[in-house]
């Protein structure tokens, strides 16, 4: 086994443990009476923040991989993506159960009337097919390219998640704006990575057909 594989093998159990920490914090804080005020909002805040942070980490894996050339890092992505999904399930459940008392009419009304609920709800729905198709079996069945195309849904889901946060805040939008800034950087990094790939491709073609040089420079 190459040393890279060994590192990932050691990191993955740590990631499992890390993924349970926000949930453990919620349980601990509530059980020890550390939460004054609205306890449901507290649960929703911790779970929602965990979803966004986990999504952002998954989005940063490809840029980090390109930047460092350390390919095995890709093997942590599914675990982190599923962490985002399971916390979004918890987040959604607290809303459906505690905020809406499982009333379909009230939920429909709330989703239809309030854009931030609609956006959050949509983002949650977008994560479901991604979680379902996260297995090796589904990657095979869909084929790499189609799988990848489907999993681009993570971009609108992340944007929706940040908007959802931004719209629910009464006045002090600093924290959601930090998230928006981080997302912009991550998207920028992806554009940069994609662009880098393209120029690599252009450079490769140059060797074969030097005529393309001027076109490549124009694009730059």
């Amino acid at each position: 086994m190459r040393p890279d594989g060994r590192v990932i093998r050691a990191v993955r159990p740590l990631l499992y443990v890390a993924s349970t920490l926000p949930g453990a914090w919620v349980v601990f804080a509530l059980a020890t009476g550390r939460v004054d005020g609205d306890q449901v909002k507290f649960i929703q805040h911790v779970t929602g923040t965990t979803v966004l942070v986990s999504l952002f980490i998954t989005l940063s894996i490809t840029p980090v991989r390109r930047l460092t050339g350390w390919n095995p890092i890709i093997r942590t992505r599914r675990l982190i993506g599923l962490t985002a999904f399971w916390y979004s399930v918890l987040h959604f459940l607290t809303y459906v159960v505690f905020d809406q008392a499982l009333s379909p009419a009230d939920i429909a009304d709330d989703v239809a009337k309030h854009p931030w609920v609609l956006v959050g709800f949509t983002s949650f729905l977008l994560l479901i097919p991604l979680a379902v198709t996260s297995t090796d079996g589904w990657v095979r069945r869909l084929g790499g390219r189609r799988w990848q195309r489907l999993h681009r849904l993570v971009y609108p889901a992340a944007v929706g998640g940040v908007l959802h946060f931004l719209w629910l805040v009464k006045k002090d939008v600093r924290t959601p704006l930090y998230f928006a800034g981080a997302l912009a950087i991550l998207f920028g990094a992806r554009v940069w990575v994609a662009w880098g790939r393209r120029t690599v491709r252009v450079r490769r073609t140059e060797a074969v057909a030097p005529r393309l040089r001027s076109a490549g420079e124009d694009a730059a």
Binding site: V97, F98, K171
Partner: protein
């Protein structure tokens, strides 16, 4: 002819009266089951109301009343005020009386209130963010103070101004709102017997995070109408501008009466979470004080004057 028809519902299918009487227990158990599924079991005060109208108003514990506050002068997180107001000193304290009143002037707070006896009033407190508490305030009916200040016939509104001192109120170092915080009431609202100038809660002086040493409590309005740490009362003829209305006029009206039928543009006001409970309960018109105050707004379009 068959006289004794068998009942079409066998008695085994009829809910036992005791079980029926315990239906809330059943729902509570169901709620706990769901909570357990979500890994949320350790929440101690489980009190499912399932959105039903409830009229039990147990006092909200002191720690919640003094640990979960909206008081942006001390920070925008709910925990910030308790932390940042811990060393706030509210004595000596001056209050300026100005505008359309005979007894204008700068008063020391204790002089202003001499002879006025503080009473305990247990009020529901409904935040515009759809959470609520039940608070045992200690305070003076504002009307009694107003009588003493002899407002003129031109006094149609009272404006209340909060202390502006970014050193003592670190939240004011950022222009999150248009400081100083001002609120206002129509004269009849201000004189209403329910309107209170609070000086304490739970039998103690007001903690800094709750608006020491003097704050307004108007129980049928959203909490933001209750200006805290007041340094000025001004009697005016024209309706004053108020802070949250300036910040977002489509979201926060001048009246801000609690109204389950008029939603905040971004969220519903139909229900609220009583702090300490998991499930939301229905919000009552005028926060349950409609019998006492609805007549103040007779003939007004409450959707327009929200």
């Amino acid at each position: 002819m068959l006289i004794n028809r068998p009942p079409d519902i066998p008695s085994s299918q009829i809910t036992d009266e005791a079980a029926y009487a315990n239906r809330r227990e059943f729902l509570r158990a169901a709620g706990l089951g769901i909570a357990a599924l979500g890994g949320l079991l350790p929440i101690a005060p489980v009190m499912p109301g399932w959105g039903a109208g409830r009229d039990d108003d147990k006092l909200t514990p002191y720690d919640d009343v003094t640990g979960y506050n909206n008081f942006y002068e001390f920070g925008t997180d709910k925990e910030d005020p308790a932390r940042n107001a811990a060393r706030f000193r509210s004595r000596p304290w001056k209050v300026q009386i100005s505008g359309e009143a005979a007894k204008r002037g700068d008063y020391d707070l204790d002089d202003l209130l001499t002879g006025l006896v503080a009473e305990e009033r247990v009020y529901r407190h409904r935040c515009v963010e759809a959470w609520s508490m039940v608070v045992p305030w200690l305070g003076i009916p504002l009307g009694r103070l107003i009588d003493r200040l002899e407002p003129t016939s031109k006094a149609k509104f009272v404006e209340f101004t909060t202390l502006h001192d970014p050193h003592r109120m670190p939240g004011q170092q950022r222009a999150i709102l248009d400081w100083p915080y001002t609120e206002a009431l129509r004269m009849d609202e201000a004189r209403h017997p329910l309107t209170l100038l609070a000086t304490g809660l739970y039998g103690k002086p007001l903690p800094g995070q709750n608006g020491a040493p003097l704050r307004l409590v108007v129980p049928w309005k959203y909490g933001f109408k209750g200006g805290k740490s007041l340094v000025r009362m001004r009697f005016v003829e024209r309706q004053p501008r108020t802070t949250w209305n300036i910040a977002a006029p489509d979201e926060y009206g001048f009246y801000a009466n609690v109204n389950p039928d008029v939603d905040h543009p971004r969220w519903s006001q139909a229900r609220e979470r009583r702090v300490g409970e998991l499930f939301k309960r229905k919000t009552l018109p005028f926060n349950g004080y409609a019998d006492q105050v609805a007549s103040l707004y007779a003939g007004m379009d409450l959707e327009k004057f929200f």
